[in-house]
């Protein structure tokens, strides 16, 4: 469904909101679309008003009109209602299949919608027979993990009902024996299990990750990066799959690569500087444009973002003349430099994309240098459900904390596995959960988990000793001595393991 987007003054937005229903004279006119909805922005980036549109007609003077501006009016929008909405970013819309950056005047756009085709697969769908096995287990008084239930299900034809029952009974006994002991210091065990192999990891920052052309940080530096929850990893990279059905299509691959890779004006055009006329002429090279899948309009819209210049496009000759509004050599030079680095196509942050065909399936997988999950997800031909980035913070921001938790786990597991080190999943899970259970990704260290401990003494013992002690005085903080570090400091048994319980000897009972 198409919607109308336009930019308006804050004052006008106020009027629209106040009146609700009115006929609004605007400086543009569009036809041919059955428009029912519109969004208005003041700053070009966030839409704060949603209007219901009754229709659009050509401008003709009339008394009941409210005008956007005094002159140059071209159309009338019949607005049925206007409501105040939470700022909706421009990236929620799609113009001609791409995410716009900014709305200048007015434009027809599509509201970005999450498509439902894959959603069904995402819902955890436990097949009935597997579920039956799990139910049987819970009837017997224990819970069976899905993976085990699936395993049993896969062997179901080899075992009869009595055997199944016996098997479950054995598993129940097995699990009871193998269960984690209450008060076990699982945190310390996890920390040790991840820290100890750290001494065996390589320091070599760069390694090849299947793709020879690209470097990815691995080994100890990467592990440190993960637990640090660094804003930007040192080598951000994405793994992108194509939509089902086009996975082996070479042409789609090249198209997506072109859409991904950040293309600058210089990549597709020559810039000729005319010092005498104080103009810059952008002369696109057809061959390069084709190679980069850029058309003339793309260049135009790219140039549109340059401020304080007048553009004169010549579609016949396929050139654009750019003239700075202010005539000076300095300005000319500045604009020239600006044009050289101007992005006209591609996803910001993606420096390079490389496709590799899977050896077995022949499906193409794209690997990128640089990461921009939010924008990449909006590219049409990619499969958003199999798009991955190694930037954990970005995942947290775009997909939420649960996804970030999984990302921490997966990245840590991958890093350790690549080094050939065996570490139990449960330890990595605990680290991932600890880093994310508050709802945001917290680093392991004084800025994150350790800095927010409840005990003054534990914080003081870790780093920045005096700051914590002085503040504790002002706040009258109370240290409940419930953790490990604080009890060691005061010389008491810690509260983990056998220290969590007491033995009481009752003595001999009389008679």
């Amino acid at each position: 469904m198409k919607v109308l987007l336009w930019k308006d003054t804050k004052k006008n937005i106020g009027i629209l909101l106040e009146k609700g229903s009115l006929r609004y004279a605007v400086d543009f006119y569009t036809t041919g679309q059955e428009l029912t909805e519109g969004y208005v922005t003041a700053d070009g980036k966030n839409f704060v008003l949603k209007v219901k549109i009754g229709g659009i007609s050509k401008y003709s003077a009339s008394k009941d009109l409210v005008s956007k501006k005094k002159s140059d009016l071209k159309g009338i929008i019949t607005i049925e209602s206007a409501i105040d909405i939470n700022p909706k970013p421009v990236s929620d819309f799609k113009i001609a299949g791409r995410a716009p950056k900014e709305i200048k005047e007015h434009v027809l756009a599509e509201v970005l919608q999450i498509e439902g085709e894959h959603l069904k697969n995402l819902v955890l769908n436990i097949p009935e027979p597997v579920k039956a096995i799990m139910d049987m287990a819970s009837k017997m008084g224990f819970s069976l993990t899905l993976s085990v239930a699936q395993k049993i299900h896969s062997m179901r034809d080899q075992i009869n009902d009595a055997q199944l029952k016996q098997l479950l009974q054995r598993i129940k006994e097995d699990i009871a024996v193998k269960g984690i002991d209450p008060y076990e210091a699982v945190g310390i065990i996890a920390a040790q299990s991840i820290g100890e192999p750290g001494t065996q990891m390589t320091m070599r920052t760069f390694h090849f990750a299947g793709v020879r052309e690209m470097n990815v940080t691995l080994g100890l530096p990467r592990l440190i990066e993960i637990v640090d929850a660094r804003r930007i990893p040192s080598t951000p990279s994405m793994t992108i799959h194509l939509r089902k059905g086009m996975e082996k299509d070479q042409s789609v691959v090249t198209k997506v690569i072109k859409e991904l890779e950040n293309t600058t004006l210089l990549d597709v055009a020559e810039i000729v500087t005319d010092v005498e006329a104080q103009t810059l002429t952008v002369e696109p090279v057809a061959e390069r444009m084709k190679d980069r899948l850029v058309n003339f309009e793309d260049i135009l819209s790219g140039l549109d973002t340059v401020k304080q210049v007048t553009l004169k496009a010549d579609p016949a000759k396929q050139i654009v003349v750019v003239k700075p509004q202010q005539e000076s050599f300095k300005k000319l030079y500045q604009v020239q430099e600006q044009l050289k680095i101007l992005t006209i196509k591609g996803v910001p942050g993606i420096k390079r994309a490389i496709a590799r065909a899977d050896k077995e399936t022949g499906e193409y997988i794209l690997y990128t240098q640089g990461s921009n999950l939010k924008d990449v997800l909006q590219i049409e031909d990619i499969d958003p459900y199999r798009t991955y980035t190694n930037d954990i913070i970005e995942i947290a921001n775009v997909l939420g904390i649960e996804a970030a938790r999984d990302a921490v786990f997966m990245e840590a597991e991958r890093t350790l596995q690549e080094q050939g080190l065996e570490v139990d999943k449960r330890h990595l899970m605990l680290v991932a959960d600890m880093m994310s259970f508050t709802g945001s990704v917290r680093a392991v260290g004084r800025q994150g988990i350790s800095g927010r401990k409840s005990s003054v003494l534990a914080r003081a013992a870790f780093e920045i000793t005096t700051k914590h002690l002085l503040r504790a005085g002002l706040l009258g903080e109370v240290d409940m001595l419930s953790g490990v570090a604080e009890n060691i400091i005061v010389g008491q048994p810690i509260t983990l393991g056998t220290g969590s319980v007491n033995l009481v000897y009752r003595g001999l009972q009389k008679n």
Binding site: R170, A191, V478
Partner: protein, 888 residues
């Protein structure tokens, strides 16, 4: 002496000290800047006043009457002539001055805001809430108040205050004295304190401006007497002397009406001294120095950092009853044991409480004296001290032993020397995981070193090139019981890191087991007896008759240490790479898999996969099926059997291992020439701009990647050629293939070619201007100019190759140095962040304040130590077991 129930500190409340409290807790008002008089006796009301405690033996504390080590020390105080600000709170003082009215002292918020914010704050308990959050909230409120330039309560126009670091405040350019600051802070009502993030229950803002200074007890700042008899005072005492001096001069100047300028100078000086007394590294002022020029270590420096009070003395403590010495191997000890030298054992004691039940025994032990031996001259435990119920210690000597033994009564404590069978903790640093500290039982041995079974090297990560280890004697029954049940080596065979064994045979153990089982060799009776004499077995395996002579099969000998009832099947390391079940290294295709049926090794070769640490399939299975004792016994027997086998057969390695035929050497030479030619061709193409770059790479990078690819191929190729001539009859190959030591790669480096040397993943390209060494032309980027080593270790490296090889080797060393420090810090942070987590009764993981981290530990509640290499349950194994049982 603590007996019975010991007290437990429930909580610790922090607060600011008020001037009254400082005075109240002070036992003496210090007014003299001197310490000792000419006789060396503390001057009264001086900094070493006896009321503050004693540090010299013989003297008694004037406050509590205690002697050294009895008196805990007492505070004194110094009355400052003029108030000074406390550096630690300088930011807070600024906030208070900024956000409160200079006239009426109220916070510059409207009544409306106050009501609104109060509601928000009232839900928070300052004592237990997250200080970060309180900090953020109060910052918002005080920022708002700071913005307001007219007081909403009294209408007074406000002035802007700036902080001239570190401790001077200026209001519109005019200095605000600490006295004025204090006066303003005094005006702030208690009710407003919460908006500043101050807890009214425990603190007042004016307490951040000091009028009286507590003087720490003498035991906190003891003076040391040098060999020359000279006294050297602690840094804190020095600083306190300065403070008292200046304070006195300031008081005098003020009282006799000196010019304002002089007073202000003195006041600033006092501020300087008090500031550096707290923190001698305050930004903006030069640190106070000792006469020698060394910066003084004052209060903050004492607490902070790795050598500060917290990390050095509170989080980590020094202990008694411990020993440290060099370690060496002893294959005849069980993995559960540790050999302790007599010398150490005589020093290490454990307390034995005397009861009516052990009185006779104790008396006998005491009567032995300090260095008893049995009739064979063997070590037996004696007693070093006996402790009377009143706490007095009596040293036992040869002379008084008999006499003292009679005195011992129930209620006494006897410090008995270490004896065989005692349980001790054994540790090697760095203690990276819990297996770095395990409990062993003591065996007293001669010599000077600690000794243990070689299988325990892996968890400690120890070798015997001079490593030292620590030993701790547990002093309480409870501790000993816990050590025996949880920390004993046999209980730690399984690593919690990956749910497999971390203790297993290494090096020669693996070689020996390989020799014993590979192709199931025959051993003569003499050999078999030799081998089995190393192991404590009741039964001899059945012999096999060959031409009427008794022979024993290697696998039968091995089977004799396996527990009956063990069934398993797995692929050996030797045949890991075997495809379609055909193994190149076994004569009999059946031997591709190791099969054990009812404790009898039927097929396959026992190697690293079966008995090594980390993989150790047999150890893993025995531990799970038969428990920790059986597993430990198996390892004990296996390691001893290994010594028997390898000493019966003999095993050696030498340069002869790496002999390959001349035509193979020639072939390797050829391929290396080919490779160099290929590289030259590439470079030629590159020079002529014919080389096409890979996407995303420059031409130079592409060239490097391709050259590296070629050099890698050559090395692999030469390795293949070399190893094709090196069969399993060669000791070095046996070691590599069985997993005992080294990889085939290392062998091919010796026999075939060393290959490309690298720095940071690329070829060597640094050194001289545009070349690596002066022996090459500038810009020569050919193979040999960039560190390609054609020679093998055996043939010897050319000088240039040797040089490049050492460059590559140096990188490895640097790498290790950097890695250990980086990973050490990462682990410290991990431990610190995770140390408080524990599993509760319902398998939820919680932190100290009860937040739930996981609803079920690890999503299945399984202990990784006991998991099947990470999996919840081994369904296949259970099914197999069920079948076996059903068929019975």
């Amino acid at each position: 002496m603590t007996t019975g129930i010991s007290k437990r500190i429930q909580r610790i409340q922090f607060s600011l000290l008020s001037p009254e409290e400082i005075r109240k807790m002070a036992q003496v008002k210090v007014i003299t800047a001197d310490t000792y008089n000419d006789d060396g006796y503390p001057i009264e009301r001086g900094l070493m006043d006896l009321h503050m405690g004693v540090i010299e033996p013989g003297l008694k504390c004037a406050t509590c009457g205690g002697k050294v080590d009895e008196c805990p020390g007492h505070f004194g105080n110094i009355e400052l002539a003029m108030p000074v600000v406390h550096v630690g709170f300088i930011k807070e003082i600024k906030t208070f001055l900024d956000a409160s009215c200079r006239s009426c002292g109220r916070i510059k918020l409207t009544e409306e805001q106050i009501v609104q914010y109060k509601e928000r704050l009232s839900s928070m308990d300052f004592a237990s809430a997250d200080p970060e959050i309180i900090g953020l909230m109060s910052k918002r409120m005080t920022d708002e108040a700071t913005q307001r330039m007219v007081c909403p309560h009294c209408g007074m126009q406000q002035k802007k205050i700036i902080l001239d670091k570190p401790t001077t405040f200026r209001e519109e350019g005019i200095k605000v004295t600490p006295k004025e600051i204090r006066e303003r802070l005094e005006k702030i009502p208690d009710d407003d304190l919460m908006f500043f993030g101050m807890n009214r229950e425990v603190a007042r803002p004016e307490w951040m401006v000091l009028t009286v200074l507590p003087v720490p007890p003498i035991n906190v700042r003891p003076s040391i007497t040098l060999d020359t008899g000279e006294r050297s005072e602690d840094d804190l005492t020095h600083k306190l002397v300065d403070i008292i001096r200046i304070s006195q001069r300031l008081r005098e100047s003020r009282d006799n009406g000196s010019p304002q300028l002089i007073i202000e100078d003195l006041w600033d000086l006092l501020q300087f001294h008090v500031t550096t007394y707290f923190d001698n590294q305050t930004a903006g002022i030069p640190p106070a120095r000792h006469r020698s020029g060394r910066a003084l270590k004052t209060l903050v420096q004492r607490l902070k950092g790795k050598d500060g009070r917290f990390r050095s003395n509170l989080s980590g403590k020094r202990v008694n009853f411990s020993a440290r010495t060099v370690i060496s191997p002893e294959p005849f000890l069980s993995i559960n044991e540790v050999g302790v030298p007599e010398k150490a054992a005589r020093e290490l004691t454990l307390p034995v409480s005397v009861t009516p039940y052990n009185l006779d025994y104790v008396r006998e032990v005491v009567a032995r004296g300090q260095e008893p031996r049995d009739e064979f001259g063997k070590y037996i435990a004696g007693v070093n001290y006996i402790i009377r119920p009143d706490g007095r210690r009596i040293k036992i000597t040869k002379q008084n032993a008999e006499e003292n033994s009679k005195k011992v009564e129930p209620g006494w404590i006897v410090e008995r020397q270490l004896s065989e069978g005692d349980i001790v903790l054994f540790n090697r640093q760095p203690s990276l995981h819990r297996m770095s500290m395990m409990a062993h039982t003591v065996r007293i041995l001669g010599g000077q070193t600690f000794r243990f079974n070689l299988a325990v090297c892996t968890p400690y990560n120890a070798d015997f090139d001079g490593d030292e280890m620590n030993l701790h004697v547990i002093q309480k029954e409870e501790g000993r019981a816990e050590a025996r049940i949880i920390m004993k080596v046999r209980e730690q065979i399984m690593s919690p890191r990956f749910g497999g064994p971390i203790i297993g045979g290494i090096h020669d153990h693996i070689t020996a087991m390989f020799l014993l089982t590979h192709n199931n060799p025959l051993f003569s009776e003499e050999q078999a007896v030799h081998i089995l004499s190393y192991v404590d077995l009741d039964q001899f395996p059945d012999p096999e008759m060959v031409d009427g002579v008794k022979f024993y099969r290697g696998r039968d000998i091995f089977s004799s240490i396996l527990p009956a009832g063990l069934n398993m099947k797995f692929r050996s390391k030797l045949c890991k790479a075997a495809k379609n079940g055909v193994c190149d290294y076994e004569d009999d295709p059946k031997d591709t898999d190791v099969t054990i049926v009812n404790g009898v090794l039927e097929t396959g070769t026992v190697d690293e996969e079966a008995i090594g640490p980390f993989s150790g399939q047999i150890i893993d299975k025995i531990f799970r099926k038969f428990g920790s004792s059986e597993a430990a016994q198996f390892i004990d027997r296996m390691t001893r059997l290994a010594v028997g086998v390898i000493s019966a057969l003999g095993f050696t390695t030498g340069i002869r291992d790496y002999d390959i035929p001349d035509n193979a050497v020639k072939r390797i030479e050829e391929i290396s020439v080919e490779a160099v030619a290929k590289i030259d061709k590439l470079i030629e193409n590159y020079r002529q701009d014919l080389l096409e770059s890979m996407p995303g790479r420059s031409v130079e990078e592409t060239l490097e990647i391709m050259i590296l690819g070629i050099t890698g191929e050559v090395r692999d190729e030469s390795g293949k050629i070399a190893s094709s001539f090196l069969g399993l009859n060669i000791p070095s190959v046996i070691m590599a293939r069985s997993g005992a030591r080294a990889k085939m790669l290392n062998i091919s480096e010796v026999a075939g070619m060393v290959g490309q040397q690298s720095v940071r993943g690329g070829r060597i390209n640094r050194g001289y201007y545009r070349r690596t060494l002066p022996h090459f032309l500038m810009d020569d980027i050919g193979a040999s100019a960039r560190g390609f080593v054609k020679s093998s270790y055996k043939s010897g490296l050319t000088p240039l190759e040797y040089f490049f090889h050492s460059i590559g080797g140096r990188e490895g060393l640097v790498d290790i140095a950097v890695r250990t420090s980086r990973s050490g810090y990462m682990q410290r942070r991990l431990i610190n962040a995770f140390e408080d987590l524990k599993v509760d009764e319902s398998k939820k993981v919680r932190d100290t304040i009860g937040s739930i981290i996981q609803f079920t530990y690890g999503e299945d509640g399984i202990d990784p130590t006991r998991s099947e290499k990470g999996e919840t349950v081994d369904v296949d194994y259970i099914l197999m077991d069920m079948e076996k049982e059903a068929s019975k």
